[in-house]
Every structure is written in structure tokens, then in C-alpha cells.
Amino acid sequence: MGTAVEKDNMFSDSDEVLIGLEIHVQLTKLKTKLFCGCATDYRGKEPNTYVCPICLGLPGTLPVVNKKAIDFAIMVGLALECEIPSKTFFYRKNYYYPDMPKNYQISQYNKAGGVPIGLGGHVTIEINKQKKTINLTRIQLEEDPGRLTYLGSITSSDYTLVDYNRAGITLLEIVTEPDLRSPREARLFLQKLRSIIEHLGVADGSLEGSMRCDANISIRGGNRVEVKNISSFKAVQKALQFELIRQRRQKADGVKTVMETRHWDDEKGITISLRTKEEEHDYRYFPEPDLVPIEITPDWIEKIRNQMPELPDARRERFIRDYQIPPYDAGVLTSSKALADFFENCIKLYNHPKIISNWIMSDLLRHLNDLNIEINESTVTPEQFVNMLKYIDTGTISRRSAKKVLWDMIREGKPPEQIIQEDGHQRIGDENVIRQFVDEIFKEYPQAVQDAIKDDKAINFLSGQVMRKTRGTADPKITYQLIKEKIDLLRKKAN
């Protein structure tokens, strides 16, 4: 166990790995909660100030469905090619927990006569250049519970604090079939799903905790384990990797994996047993008597269909067609709405799609990845990005300097002009200045000079040293020219 090769095998796609996901997406673009008029921009606000008698579940209050939430859910359903039923129902899911104001959650159900807002459906991902269809079981609407917070850690805190600002926020639960075969597929699926949802304009996945995920994972023939509390897509991959190793190790050791619910501890990077099957809740689902069934007419569905914006797959095709960029690049650029928007906004300012695409693919994304942030979390604007490219065109900076300027733009949040001024990235075009550097290099590398006299090829080394000394700001053509002249002169002397 534990060698690099074995580890790699452990994560590779395999028919014996079965992964299914349950994703909870907050429809953050809704202005009000699912069943009351409270505002939804609760993040960073004083606890328990975004509440009313209804979302606090005070005695006597009743829910009223936010019609816009139904619109949004239908739109997601259409985008994921779910079947939209002609009638959908809310059900009560009963269990006790202090973050639930009513001690039941108004949700939907696909059994006991329940019909959720979307049935079936699928998402296509691309893995190893192959298209793969991930089938969905259903999508359904439900209310988010409140949030429990502890003073310090959960174990050391003397008491638990409850904030109901989040209670009643609209959640769309998306449930997949166990069609995913590796942690990486799971991450790619989630990325695609998020891009679709963001393209629809129903949610902003970059908001903290706005997309949460539970995962079911098993090795064929073994018991299914549910992993809860996964709060980011990167964590999904890590949690599944951990769980896969754990289950494979158990299998290798001849231990039967227990059917249970486990909790992902992001800090420690491990899963911990939460409860076994016997301790599972009996949720006692039954139809919510305070709400009436929702009739979804064909006209309603058509109206939503006509409002549907461009989806990532269509956008990808358009990028390939209109901007003449490689399919792979177009796929990466449309893997996030923010990134695709960034790309197209740049094009509006600077009509060189290929150059922009190359810079995004080769530099921008690498830097963002290093910093573990997304494009909309960085301060770099399309204007700044394009200005930097224009400085290359005008000769103000070299391509090589530009790479450093971009890194500083991302890291320090400064506009390119400022970085160029402060750090002297401005290109040196003055022959007299460059000649001084050339003279210095000739003194420092006499052997290279001799080599160059014999063969022009060695001039490249000398010119490289000048570029290094000037941190890439010296004009390469002028530099080469000056070195060549000087070498030619030495050749004459030697003759």
C-alpha cells in the first residue's frame, strides 16, 4: 500500500466504483426565501435578523410558495433535460434538529405519491476526451435549515448558537444515479453542473456554502457509504479519494464495509462514522397539508423554455466556431460562466480571441489555480487584462515581462500600468542603455564571446544574459543587433 503507482490506481476510473451525488444548490438569485418574503442576502449579516414569523416557524404561520422558485427549478429541469411533471407536490420530512424551526423540512418526495419538480435528466461530461452521460434520478425543491455555530470547536464549545437567517432559503436538490466511476469524474460532473446552473442565472456557486454535496460511494459488491458535510467541489474529490482508499483497504483486508453515514472532516481530511443504518432517521414523509399541489401547464414550461439563456455546451460550440479556438480550450473556457464571461468581455475590448484564449489557458488559469481562487474572486478585470496585452503590442513591455506583470496583477491586485511603472518592466529600447548591458556581459562571459566569434549560434546565450540582467525589458531585436555588431567587430580584429 501507499506507493505512487498503487495510489494512482486507486483513483483511476473503474467499473467497480459506484458513486452517486446529492447536490444542494441554493438558488441565490431569488430575492426572497422559498416560503416567505424575507430577503436572501443574509451572508455576513447579524444573526437572526433575516427572519420573520413564517421562516421561524412560529405557531400558526403557514408557508406560501415563491413562484419564482418554481420558475427557476423548471428552468434547471429543462436545462438538465428532466421530465417536468404536470403536477408537483411538497412533502414534509420530519426529524428533530435545532437548526430546523419547525422540526420538519418542507421538501419533495418521489415515493408515497410524491412527485418532485424534475424526474430523470442527465449531464454530459468529457473525460479523457470521451463524452460520458451521467444520469440524474430527480431534482427537487426544499427549504434550507438554519445554521448552528459553536464558540471555538464543536467539542470545546459550552453551548450552541443558532442563526436562522439561512432558514427557508431555496434549495434545489439534484440527485444522480450511481453513474460516476471515480472521484475525478465526480469533480468534473460538479464543475459542469455548476457551469450550467450559473449560465441559467439562477445561482452564484461562488458564494460560501451555496453549493453543498453529499456523496454515496461503494465498491461493487460492497455496502454503500454516505459521506455528508462536503462543502466544496475540491473537497468532494478529496473525500471520495479518502473513502475509496478506506473501502479498498477494508476489502483487501477481508473486512466488510459497514453501511453507514460518515462525516467529512475537511481539516483532517478524513471521514468519520456518524451513524449506521440502524440509527437512520425514519423521516415519516407525508404530503404537506399547508400547501396545494402545483399544476405546471405546458404554457408555463414553454414560457420558461423561451427565457432560457445559452448553456455551456452551446457556448462551447459557438466559441469553437466564432473564435476559431481549439475544442479543448473552448471546453475549459466554458467550464465556468465567470470565465467564459471574462473571455468574451475581453474580446469586446480587444478583438484577438486566440491571443486572449492562449493567455487565459497558459497563464491566467495557472495563477488562479496556484492561489486557489476563481476568476471572479480575483481583482483582475477584462480591461486590465486587455491593457496588458496591448502593452505587448505597442512594445511597452516584452512578452516575457508581461507574464510577470500578469502574475503581479493577480497576486497584488494592481492594474498593469502601476506594476510596469513601479517594477521597471517598461521595455528598454534605447541603444545606448542596452549597449552598456552588452558591454558588461562581454566582460563577464569571455568564453561565450570566443564561442560566438566562432559561431553565431552562441550569440543567443549572450543575448539571453542581457535579457536576464534587464529582467526581460531590453528590446530583444536591438540587443541581438548590438551583440552581433560587436562580435563582427571582434572577428575583423582577429583577422
Binding site: P53, G57, P59, G60, V64, R284, F286, P289, D290
Partner: protein, 488 residues
């Protein structure tokens, strides 16, 4: 001349309008009466004398200085203590909500206030409206004004007793399985449960959402119609309310009832029905016959299953509705800060009385995995079939008639130790809740000085017809005008 407190809202409305009496005088008259009789009756949990007087004074001023004259202007009204009143304690007669003060008004309260009604107090009830006698209240036992040893019926016993004892002019109750009609019958007053979805439930503390409606408890049919004019209507805060066109229930009271057809299901006149009750009901039928109404004895077989069907649905919903009472956000909280939250809240929930606990446990059981199909789902099927059977009869009959309760009021304590026997007495009332049909109870006689109630069930949204028949009956009888012998 009768004292002010003895009059009906309809009568007082014109007196107030003509300036024959002020709202303040009426309130004082009423509180004098309450002072004399309330110690015997114990109808109220909270009395709002000062509030009411202030409100009456403000209203008198408003009546003098403006054109305002709301339907209920200056009319005192008592509210069952499961209907939320802003800044006024609302207990559901439970230790659990002993200290609970809602921050909002129920929709019906907003409607009453907008029409100038004056809330004079919150009335006693069975805990969380679970009962037929008002004996399960955490606070007190309410006594029947007709005989203090007898129960007023339930669960809206406080509201009914207050109306019967002239301790209010109007009252609101709620009816989940007969909780308006049963006490109306036992206290010799008029009470109606409207078609499901006609009156907003927003602010009614839920017992069983799919069955219950708020409704009036009044001295006569005319007051019932008057109060319905205020209460009925769509509420955007209650998705289950219907978009009914605006109806003036007073306008059609006088219309002729000749030619109406009445069906009397034998299931309503079964062996559990006291002889005096069935005699009074038949007398009522014959009286109606003399007004040109025809009748047939019919059968609606599934009525026999209405009680188990009702209790399964009601208890199942209750087990979920009452889950929120955990002492974390409001309500009873044990004096204990250490321990796991679920241990603490389990102790908090001991604040529920035995009947409430019983229904929560049975409802939890009925919804549990493996039992859901057997109980809850089956009850829903019976519900649909029962509604079909009623609907079939409404093709031939305008009204289904029977007693409201199979007996006259029980003695206090008589039923408390035998819940099943108590549940069985709901035989005549629960069908209207299970089917969502409107039903009215009006006085139709006495036995040994104890009142008997007549129940009329109408087809969906046929309240006008029920009121018209009931009004005609009251035009020709004086049972409803009889006053209980409590003196004062």
C-alpha cells in the same frame, strides 16, 4: 328591555349606528356581566378589559368623527386561545405555550379589527384543540352555563360557554373534528364550520391543517352570517384558501326554502344516539317539512369509518405540527442548561398534557415506515371515498341532516378516563371535516334541561343554503332564545 349584553351583534350594530349606545357602554355592560358569571363558568384564560375599554373609546371617537362604520364596529368578540393575537398571550390552553406572546395577528384578527370589532378576551379550550369537553385545558375546566356539572363541549368550549352565558356577543372557535359544532350543540348556541378553504388559517395554531377551519360561535344564525361576511375570503398568506366571490351571507337569509330536499343518513341516527336526541332531531325534521321541505332516510355507509379515518389523519398531522415545540425558540423550557439538546428538549416536551402526548405518539406511529400505507394512506383513501359518497347524495339532496352530537352534554369527568368512548362521540361531526363540507349546528331542543343540537351539512360552498334553512328554523322556534339558568 334586555340588557345590552344579551343582544345580538346584528341588533347592537344598528343601536351603535343610531347612537342609542356607545361602544364603551357596551363594553362596560359586558364586563359587569362577566364579573357576575365568570367565576362559575371559567370561559376565559385571558380577559382584556383595559384594552377593550381603550379600543371602545377610540372607536366611539372614530364613529363620531368619520364615516367609518365597519360591520363589527364596537362589537365585542371573544377569541379562542389558539388564534394568534399580536402582543396578547396565546396559549392553546397548554403549559407549553403558557408564556407565548405572538408577534403577529392571525388574518381573521386583522379582518375583525379592520371592521371595528373589539377583542375582549381569549377563551379556554382543550389543549391544542384536542378534545370534546374542554377538560384537557392546562388552566381550568369550563362549565356548561346550562348545568355547571356538565362540560360545555369542546374543543372551543370557552368560546361557546362565553356566548351562551352572555359573556360576549360573538366568539371565534376552530373546528377540526367538530370543535365548533360540538360546544355549540352542548351550549345551545349557533356554530358553523365552513367549507375547507373558505376562511384563512393563517395564525390558527395548527392541530390538523387539512381538517380545520376557524368559524363563528354566535347567539343566532343571523349573527353567524354577519361574522362570516367578515371572515370568509381568500388570504394570500394561506395557500389553501379558495378564491370565492364576495358573498353577503345576510342578504339571502330570508329566501324561501320550499322544495328543498333533505337526506337523513341512518348512520347519524345509530344505536349510540340518545333517544331524546333523535326525538328532537325528528321534531326538527317535521317542522322543516311543514315549510315545504321534503326528506328521505338514506345511507352513507362510510360514515361508520369517518371516526377512525379522522383520527388517523388528525393525529398524523398533529405529530408533525407539534414537533416545533421544543423549547428552543419559544414556549416552555426546563430550568436546565447542561446536557445534550435532545435530552433537554425531550424534557421540555413533557409540558404537553396526556391527551396531546397520546395523539402525537399515535400519529408518529401511523406515519412510520411500514405503517404509513396501512394507516395514513388508507385513511386518505377512505377520505376520498367518503367524499364521493357524500357528493353522490348531493345529486339527490340539498342538505344532509342529523344530530350534532349523539347525546346531551357529558358530566364533567365522565369521559376523561375513556378516550375511545370520547372519540366515538365525534361520529356525527367528523365527516364534515374529513370531506371538507360545510356544516352548521343550531339548537333544536332540550332534555332534562340540557341542550340538543341539530346539524345540517351542505354541499361544498353551500353555506348560504345552510344559513337560510337554519335561519328559517330559528324564525319559527325559540330554542336559541332560551337563556341558561345561571342568573348573575
Amino acid at each position: 328591555m334586555a340588557s345590552f349584553y344579551e343582544l345580538t351583534a346584528y341588533e347592537l350594530h344598528s343601536m351603535l349606528q343610531n347612537g342609542d349606545i356607545t361602544a364603551e357602554e357596551l363594553i362596560y355592560s359586558l364586563f359587569d356581566r362577566i364579573q357576575k358569571t365568570e367565576t362559575k363558568i371559567k370561559a376565559y384564560i385571558t380577559l382584556l378589559k383595559e384594552n377593550a375599554i381603550n379600543q371602545a373609546r377610540l372607536l366611539d371617537k372614530k364613529l363620531r368623527n368619520s364615516n367609518f362604520f365597519g360591520i363589527l364596529a364596537g362589537i365585542p368578540i371573544a377569541i379562542k386561545d389558539n388564534i394568534c393575537t399580536k402582543n396578547i398571550r396565546t396559549t392553546c390552553s397548554s403549559k407549553m405555550l403558557d408564556n407565548y406572546v405572538p408577534p403577529y395577528n392571525a388574518t381573521v384578527i386583522e379582518r375583525i379589527l379592520a371592521e371595528g370589532g373589539i377583542i375582549i378576551g381569549k377563551t379556554n379550550m382543550d389543549e391544542f384543540a384536542m378534545g370534546t369537553t374542554t377538560e384537557s385545558s392546562y388552566y381550568q375546566i369550563t362549565h356548561n352555563p346550562w348545568s355547571l356539572e356538565h362540560v360545555p363541549g369542546g374543543s372551543s368550549g370557552g368560546s361557546a360557554a362565553a356566548v351562551a352565558a352572555d359573556e360576549t356577543i360573538l366568539a371565534l372557535g376552530s373546528d377540526t373534528g367538530g370543535s365548533i359544532r360540538c360546544p355549540a350543540s352542548f351550549c345551545n348556541i349557533t356554530g358553523i364550520k365552513v367549507s375547507y378553504g373558505s376562511i384563512s388559517r393563517y395564525g390558527l395554531i395548527s392541530y390538523a391543517c387539512s381538517l380545520e377551519q376557524i368559524g363563528p360561535l354566535t347567539k343566532d344564525v343571523r349573527d353567524c352570517a354577519l361574522l362570516l361576511n367578515v371572515l370568509v375570503g381568500r388570504d394570500p398568506y394561506d395557500s389553501t384558501t379558495l378564491n370565492r366571490p364576495k358573498i353577503d351571507f345576510l342578504a339571502t337569509l330570508d329566501e324561501d326554502i320550499k322544495g328543498l330536499r333533505i337526506g337523513i343518513p341512518k348512520e347519524f341516527m345509530g344505536t349510540g344516539t340518545a333517544e331524546a336526541v333523535s326525538k328532537a332531531v325528528w321534531n326538527a325534521v317535521h317542522l322543516l317539512e311543514s315549510f315545504g321541505v321534503t326528506y328521505d332516510e338514506i345511507s352513507i355507509p362510510l360514515i361508520d369509518y369517518a371516526v377512525p379515518c379522522y383520527y388517523i389523519i388528525a393525529m398524523s398531522e398533529a405529530s408533525s405540527n407539534l414537533a416545533r415545540y421544543d423549547g428552543i425558540r419559544y414556549g416552555y423550557r426546563v430550568e436546565k442548561d447542561e446536557g445534550e439538546w435532545n435530552e433537554i428538549f425531550a424534557e421540555d416536551r413533557l409540558a404537553f398534557g396526556p391527551e396531546v402526548r397520546r395523539r402525537i405518539m399515535l400519529g408518529t406511529y401511523a406515519l412510520s415506515a411500514g405503517y404509513y400505507d396501512m394507516y395514513y394512506l388508507k385513511a386518505l383513501k377512505v377520505r376520498t371515498l367518503l367524499r364521493n359518497q357524500f357528493e353522490a347524495q348531493f345529486k339527490s339532496y340539498d342538505i344532509i341532516l342529523g344530530p350534532t352530537m349523539p347525546t346531551t352534554p357529558f358530566k364533567i369527568g365522565e369521559m376523561i378516563s375513556d378516550p375511545l368512548a370520547m372519540y366515538r362521540t365525534d361520529i356525527d361531526t367528523v365527516a364534515a371535516n374529513v370531506t371538507g363540507l360545510p356544516a352548521i349546528s343550531i339548537p333544536c331542543g332540550f332534555s332534562d334541561g340540557l341542550p340538543i343540537g341539530l346539524q345540517l351539512i351542505g354541499n361544498s360552498l353551500q353555506e348560504e343554503l345552510l344559513l337560510r334553512v337554519a335561519y328559517k328554523f330559528q324564525q319559527e322556534t325559540d330554542y336559541h332564545k332560551k337563556k341558561p339558568p345561571i342568573g348573575g
